[in-house]
């Protein structure tokens, strides 16, 4: 339960809408963090192909692990509005990720209901950040 996670919501134009990283306390001050961030994003971007392909194969929103690269697994979740939730993780944690996705989806839907929010634009919300942090602690790193 103490792997690194990188969570991203990807919009319809492959544009990241919301990003969040979860590092285990031990790695929080890793100097390589910055390098990793780029790599994470590259992997997440490449995994979109598989997400797009796999979402038609199943009726579930949660697609489990769709891709992997080196030590990174990519789990995905596709919302009804075709927003893609991706999670990069280096440890297997299927249930935790599933729950995380589910609750994050709820939070996202609530946020998206805001009439002032234009879909597919970056989410900037302290409440969302807080929610994501708690959920991350609860299901991922905690």
């Amino acid at each position: 339960m103490s792997g690194s996670y990188y969570f991203v919501i990807v919009g319809h134009h492959d544009n990241p809408v919301y990003e969040m990283e979860y590092l285990p306390p031990s790695k929080a001050n890793d100097p390589k963090k910055d390098d990793h961030r780029h790599l994470n994003q590259f992997i997440a971007h490449a995994a979109l192909d598989l997400v797009d392909e796999q979402m038609w194969m199943t009726g579930n929103m949660y697609l489990k692990i769709v891709d992997k690269f080196n030590e990174w697994f990519v789990s995905a979740f596709v919302t009804a509005g075709r927003m893609r939730f991706l999670m990069l993780h280096d440890t297997k944690n299927e249930d935790g990720i599933r729950n995380f996705f589910q609750e994050m989806y709820e939070a996202y839907v609530k946020y998206a209901m805001n009439p002032f929010y234009e879909p597919n634009t970056p989410v900037k919300s302290a409440a969302m950040d807080k929610k994501a942090q708690t959920l991350g602690k609860k299901y991922l790193t905690g």
């Binding site: 544009n15 590259f42 192909d49 598989l50």
Partner: protein, 1423 residues
């Protein structure tokens, strides 16, 4: 095997591998490439008379290591060798030949046949330059031999015969041979072969026990085709092979018989080749016959064979061509060559002799383990790899010596099975190559069964793979390449190309089924269908993965499977296989890794996983320049990165970007672009660096941090300071084109506005005389909502089209509203316009914009150099040293793609200067208003001369000038203020460029000279009609005026004598040159602001009748409003009231006599004709004037008259009427009245000349009396009546002074009326009434008696005629009396309208007692 072939396809199992090599240094790689392309286009050859097709694939490089894997998978071995070289001389030829031989040796273990293609020689093999100088005798003979083959002449036939004799093998390339018999034979042979094959197939299908059948066939085979194929290579090969097997059986015997070559001793050698002498060589060459050297082997002894092969081979195996472009039969020859290969292959396939022999075919890495092991008995110890799952029997055997014996029996069984299984598998491979996949499947299935039981996992995997390949080949038959190959990469729809191909293929399949053509193939047992293929592939890969050394095979299998899936359109599954490839751990060189990643990327591309593809492209790019790579290839890195851009949704063409919203992952994008930039910097290609940097700056503008922007910009500038960034597309070596990346955002232009020319340069259409009429609506209605003439679309106004014109050769202006979005000061230079249509010269400008600021308005100037339509399509800038062409259509904020303006032919330019200070031509109206302060001050009544100079500052002559006055005031007044003479200007036209013309404008200080407070009085009096006017004497009038005036003097201080300001503009319309021909002119506007300041004003004014009928007096209260002394002088007409000479009313008056003052204004000393006014002081002056003669009024014809000329009424009558009714209310009357008034005023202006001068200011002017608002009554006084009254009392003429009589005295009044006008005076009633002087309302009836008629009708009086009337008056009381003598018109009209003339002055009579002394004089004062 360490060199993976990433282009492997399942179909490759079917293709004969031919190595096409470049030999010698003469042939350039490019030319070789051309030849290679031509050859590789020969993809397949149809075997004549059979339903079989032989497929080929070509390689220009093939590592020998890979070739060694040929036993494992037959398609990996090089079967044919084509060497291509160029030679001009025999020496070169020898060189090439030597290389060719070397190549042959290198691949001799697998090669069946080879050819050498030589360019640059004559077709007969002789050097093109020198026909014959053969240094090598063998070559010469070979040349001869070849020539005979080719030309087929009679003479060469004999040679051919010779060669046949010497060595019958020389002709076995039957395709060349001119011998008809041979060809026919070969044809027969082929048909027979076909039969054979089918037969064999049937047999096999029918019966599981192949061995016996095969044996039969083998017996049959040689029998059948031996007669024809006495010289065929393949036959010999098969023979030799059989000999090798050393199991002397029946087949061998037959063989011996037929060929007549019994290589007895050699037969004994196991696995040895009959054609090779040394056993060493045999070993090297392996058990399979090397075709090249074995071909000539026939019955001849080995030694002679050898020599003959040396001598013969070149002849038959060399194709000579003069030139690369002159080898039309190259393809044909390649096909023939392939056929020879095929026959060898076919022979091998059909040869089953070795089945009897227990021989284990093995993969190269297995062989290493075999060294020193007894081949006969020992199984090959398979290498147990890291995959622990497997149980490896061999390993157990080798480790545990004790078990070895125990297991020996089993082992031998296993070994046997393995041999069989592998052989089967190998046969399957051969069948595939030979174009019988159905048969191959059978072999593979058998092999699978055998190998499974033998636990031979590696070969099992290979068999699976073979089975899959064969199935794919059957299920998805390849189609021959069409002349035009469709490029599927063009199709844009996701997955469409793949699906299409799969569909095409499967539909082709279905068609065949329906036609019943290839049903046999489909029905072949064990043939795998769709998903099964993939299953089996998975299995194969799973087995492969157990062995470390076959990683490459595993990878290739994955790739093949992936390609099959791509074809089937199963993208997701394909991606799984690709994923597997990533995890196959191989010891590879960095180069290989790059290749692997880029292959992966390509495959991902093919399954439309563009993002994945981009990912691996980038990984490959990074790999190619990884720190561990000794010499990083930045070139390649760049190329790969460029290819990956698309996957990251980065478009190189900024235009695509403009429309769409933010697409892609900005951080990833900017990272990749940064990497591209870095890569380009490593490459050192400066234009490329600049292009990439501008691209990055533009595309990622919104996502870059200020810091990054600053860094990028600085970096960019360091490059551009040496090398300007251009805006042309850059072509990369890879053929990619980098379009220009203009910095559209630096600076941001939000608005572009074309400016009209400045007002004075703006062209205006000269309206022709016809146009006004036309412009008026043809409809009789003033307004109609229907606009028939206007086109319907006019409602939508085209904003890109300007509604004004520009003029050729004149500087025009475009305003840009710019913002600087960058966090630093932005210097923009070379801002110019992009235009098309008309030649346009831009005048670049520069600007410097503060960080993060805007908007700024920048004006870009340019000059059109032609007439016509000018389109402005964009603008150019140079920012950070990069030149940008920014098209409007690419700028999202500007909707119009271009702005259009019409340019008209050139017009001249005029500059107007005037002598009035600071009043010159201005560029626009605003400026005029701003400069309002520049006012020319003119005192009322003053005149000013303004010199106007017109200068032609343009380059075309001014041919036409018109001048119009435009002002806000009343036109009439303006005409008086400004007076000029146009003719003097017109005479100076045309004005040549550079020269000038002058004329003068006179400015008059026109004013009404009224002091503000005084107007009230006059208004009151003006309201009274003269008829109602209280009758009073002139004196009484004067006194009232004086009284009222004096009252108002108290307010004098408060009065503000503000100047009257006249704003007028002179509009010069001028034109000339080509612009005039097009009907345009220009307006030049010169504003004039004139302040008319009152100098001397009237506070009050009146006309006082004098004693005589002919004269009257103007009484004026004159005030000096200036701060200086002023002098007044009167003109010639000034009269003195006291001058007795005036009484006659005829004599002109001496000036200045009369000026007198009264009332409060102190009397000043009067110089003759002049009066001095102190500052702010008022004086009253009198000016006696002669009355205006009535005739003078009539001199002016009235407009009405002209109309009535035809009427019966005589003209004069009309005049009289008009005259008499001039006060009436009807329109006509008032009009006439106005006219008359005008005339009166004119009379005043002409004859009353009062001038003022202020010596201090050296100013002088004239007071125009006519501007005063005279009342009608006053004017009437000025006018002379038409009736001349002659009154005498007691025969004494009355001259205005009161006559004295006594009470009771009879006074005789003689009234004589004379018509002075030209028109007759109508019938009137003359009445005489008397009343008290100061009490007009008091009845005088009791004081006076009129004897005679007090009223009398007069007849109509003609001009000059006189009417006399006499009556008598008797006064009873003393006092002053006045006689009112009036003459009232008798008309049929209402009485009120009747015209009345009153005798003026009134007749005053003083009555005294007969004794008493006169107490009063005429003025009423007591003396």
């Amino acid at each position: 095997m360490s060199f993976p072939d990433y282009s492997q396809k399942a179909e490759d199992h079917q293709s004969i591998l031919i190595l096409v090599k470049l030999v010698g240094a003469e042939l350039k790689p490019k030319s070789f490439g051309r030849v290679y392309d031509r050859i590789s286009r020969v993809e397949c050859v149809h075997v004549p008379n059979q339903q079989r097709t032989v497929w080929m694939r070509y390689k220009s490089q093939y590592p020998i290591e890979n070739n060694e894997w040929g036993d494992f998978q037959a398609h990996r071995k090089v079967l044919g060798l084509l060497c291509i070289g160029k030679a001009r001389t025999t020496e070169e030829m020898e060189d090439i030949y030597q290389t060719y031989e070397d190549e042959k040796t290198a691949y001799s273990s697998t090669m069946y046949d080879s050819r050498l293609v030589v360019f640059g020689m004559n077709t007969d093999g002789s050097p093109s330059m020198q026909q014959s100088d053969p240094s090598d005798p063998t070559l010469l003979t070979s040349v001869g031999g070849e020539g005979s083959d080719k030309q087929g002449s009679t003479s060469t036939n004999t040679v051919a015969a010779e060669t046949k004799d010497a060595n019958s093998e020389s002709d076995k390339e039957n395709a060349h041979t001119p011998d008809g018999d041979l060809e026919i034979k070969s044809g027969e042979l082929e048909t027979k072969n076909g039969d054979l094959v089918t037969k064999a197939g049937e047999l096999e299908i029918k019966d599981g026990d192949l061995k016996t059948k095969n044996g039969d066939i083998q017996i049959k085979d040689p029998l059948r085709y031996e007669p024809e194929e006495t010289t065929a290579i393949s036959k010999i090969d098969s023979v030799s092979e059989k000999l090798v097997k050393s199991d002397i059986n029946s087949s061998e015997k037959t063989e011996e018989k037929k060929s007549g070559t019994v290589p007895g001793g050699q037969l004994a050698v196991k696995k040895g080749q009959p054609n090779s002498d040394s056993p060493l060589q045999q070993k090297k060459q392996g058990h399979l016959s090397p075709s090249g050297q074995s071909t000539p082997a026939s019955g001849s002894p080995s030694g002679s064979r050898r020599s003959s092969s040396r001598g013969k081979d070149p002849k038959s195996h060399i194709w000579f061509y003069a030139d690369i472009d002159k080898c039309p039969d190259l393809e044909e020859k390649v096909k023939e060559f392939v056929m020879t290969l095929f026959w060898v292959l076919e022979g091998k396939r059909l040869d089953r002799s070795f089945e009897k022999k227990m021989q284990l075919i093995s993969a190269p890495f297995e062989k290493k383990d075999m060294v020193g092991v007894d081949v006969e008995n020992k199984p090959i110890p398979q290498r147990a790899e890291s995959k622990k799952k497997l149980f490896f029997l061999e390993r157990a055997v080798s480790t545990d010596k004790s078990d070895l014996v125990a297991h020996m029996v089993d082992t031998q069984k296993v070994y046997r099975k393995r041999c069989q299984g592998r052989l089967r598998k190998h046969l399957g491979d051969l069948c595939l190559l030979a174009g019988v996949p159905g048969e191959a499947i059978l072999h593979y299935s058998t092999a699978l069964d055998i190998l499974k039981s033998a636990n031979d996992w590696l070969w099992l995997a290979a068999a699976y793979e073979g089975l899959c390949s064969a199935s794919v080949i059957i299920m998805y038959p390849r189609e021959e390449r069409q002349s035009f190959q469709r490029n599927y990469s063009w199709s844009t729809k996701r997955g469409s190309s793949m699906m299409q191909e799969a569909k095409q293929r499967s539909s082709a399949q279905q068609n065949r089924n329906q036609n019943g053509l290839d049903l046999a193939r489909v029905r072949i047992k064990n043939c795998l269908m769709g998903d099964d293929i993939i299953e089996k592939y998975k299995e194969a890969i799973m087995h492969y993965s157990k062995f470390k050394n076959v990683g490459i095979v595993e990878m290739e299998a994955s790739i093949k499977a992936c390609r099959v899936l791509i074809m089937q359109g199963k993208n997701l599954q394909a991606s799984e296989f690709l994923q597997n490839v990533v995890y196959i751990n191989l010891q590879m060189s960095e180069e290989e890794k790059v290749l692997r990643y880029s292959t992966l990327a390509t495959l991902y591309e093919q399954i439309n996983f563009h993002r994945k593809a981009a990912f691996f492209k980038r990984v490959a790019a990074m790999q190619s320049v990884a720190p561990t790579v000794p010499n990083p290839s930045w070139e390649r890195c760049h190329q790969l990165l460029m290819q990956s851009l698309k996957g990251y949704s980065i478009t190189l063409d900024y235009r695509e970007r403009v429309q769409g919203e933010a697409v892609g992952w900005p951080i990833v994008q900017s990272r990749v672009l940064h990497e591209v930039v870095y890569c380009a910097r490593k490459l050192g290609n400066v234009p490329l660096i600049i292009r990439h940097m501008t691209h990055l700056l533009h595309m990622m503008h919104h996502y870059l941090t200020p810091q990054e922007k600053r860094e990028l910009s600085n970096l960019l500038e360091t490059y551009t300071c040496h090398h300007e960034g251009l805006n042309q597309p850059i072509a990369l070596d890879s053929g990619q084109i980098l379009p220009a990346a203009p910095l559209l955002n630096l600076p941001q232009v939000r608005v572009m506005k074309l400016m009209n020319l400045p007002l004075h340069l703006r062209p205006v259409a000269i309206k022709s005389t016809l146009t006004p009429d036309r412009e008026q609506s043809p409809s009789p209605f003033i307004y109609s909502p229907l606009q028939f003439s206007a086109p319907m679309g006019r409602v939508r106004k085209d904003r890109s089209k300007m509604d004004f014109q520009w003029v050729m050769d004149d500087v025009c202006e475009v305003a840009l509203q710019v913002f600087n979005p960058m966090p630093y000061e932005l210097k923009v230079s070379n801002v110019a316009l992009l235009t098309d249509g008309v030649d346009f010269v831009s005048h670049p400008s520069s600007m410097s914009l503060q960080a993060n600021s805007g908007p700024y308005v920048v004006k870009v100037l340019g000059t059109p150099k032609g007439a016509g339509q000018l389109n402005i399509t964009g603008y150019t800038t140079t920012v950070l040293g990069v030149r940008n062409n920014c098209k409007l259509r690419d700028i999202p904020r500007i909707r119009e793609a271009q702005y259009t303006v019409e340019v008209i032919p050139p017009l001249p330019q005029l500059q107007v200067t005037t002598s009035v200070p600071r009043s010159r031509s201005y560029s626009n109206l605003d400026e005029i208003l701003k400069k309002e302060s520049a006012i020319l001050t003119v005192f009322a009544g003053e005149s000013f001369e303004c010199q106007v100079m017109l200068t032609n500052t343009g380059s075309y002559p001014i041919e036409v000038v018109e001048l119009a006055l435009d002002s806000k005031g009343k036109d009439k007044e303006m005409d008086e203020v400004f007076v000029w003479n146009m003719e003097s200007l017109q005479s100076q036209l045309p004005i040549a460029p550079g020269s000038h013309a002058c004329f003068t404008i006179f400015i008059h200080g026109v004013s009404n000279f009224i002091s503000k407070e005084s107007t009230v009085i006059d208004d009151k009096s003006a309201q009274l009609s003269p008829a109602r006017r209280p009758r009073s004497t002139g004196l009484s009038d004067l006194s009232t005026v004086a009284l009222k005036s004096s009252q108002s003097w108290n307010d004098l201080v408060l009065v503000d004598h503000s100047a009257k300001i006249i704003q007028a503009t002179f509009k010069f319309k001028y034109s000339g040159g080509p612009g005039l021909e097009r009907g345009f002119c220009r307006h030049c506007v010169v504003p004039m602001n004139i302040a008319i300041q009152p100098a001397v004003v009237m506070k009050a004014w009146d006309v006082v009748a004098r004693d005589t009928c002919d004269t009257c007096k103007l009484v004026l209260d004159v005030q000096n409003t200036t701060d200086h002394w002023a002098e007044l002088t009167t003109g010639d007409l000034a009269m003195s009231s006291d001058d007795p000479a005036l009484t006659s009313g005829k004599t002109p008056v001496t000036p200045g006599d009369l000026l007198m003052t009264f009332g409060d204004p102190p009397v000043t000393s009067v110089t003759p004709g002049a009066v001095t006014l102190a500052e702010k002081k008022t004086k009253r002056i009198w000016i006696p004037i002669r009355r205006c003669k009535i005739q003078e009024l009539y001199d002016i014809p009235l407009e009405n008259d002209n109309e009535d000329v035809e009427s019966s009424e005589p003209v004069h009558r009309r005049h009289r009427d008009s005259l008499s009714h001039h006060l009436h209310d009807n329109a006509e009357g008032s009009e006439v009245a106005e006219k008359i008034q005008e005339e009166c005023l004119k009379y005043l202006s002409e004859f009353v000349d009062i001038r003022w001068s202020i010596p201090h200011l050296q100013k002088s002017g004239k007071i125009a009396v006519d501007k005063l608002p005279w009342s009608d009554a006053q004017l009437e006084l000025v006018r002379e009546t038409p009736i001349h009254w002659d009154i005498s009392l007691n025969k004494r003429g009355y001259s205005g002074e009161a006559h004295q009589f006594n009470t009771g005295e009879l006074v005789q009044l003689d009234v004589s009326l004379t018509c002075r006008s030209d028109f007759p005076i109508p019938e009137c009633t003359l009445s005489v009434q008397c009343h008290r002087k100061y009490n007009p309302d008091l009845s005088c009836d009791r004081h006076v008696t009129i004897t005679g008629q007090s009223c009398k009708n007069t007849p109509e009086l003609g001009s000059g005629s006189t009417f006399r009337h006499t009556c008598h008056l008797t006064f009873y009381h003393t006092g002053q009396y006045v006689l009112d003598i009036t003459c009232t018109e008798l008309t049929s009209n209402v009485q009120e309208n009747a015209c009345t003339w009153t005798c003026s002055p009134e007749v005053s009579i003083d009555i005294t007692d007969s004794e008493s002394v006169l107490l009063f004089d005429s003025s009423g004062h007591v003396k």
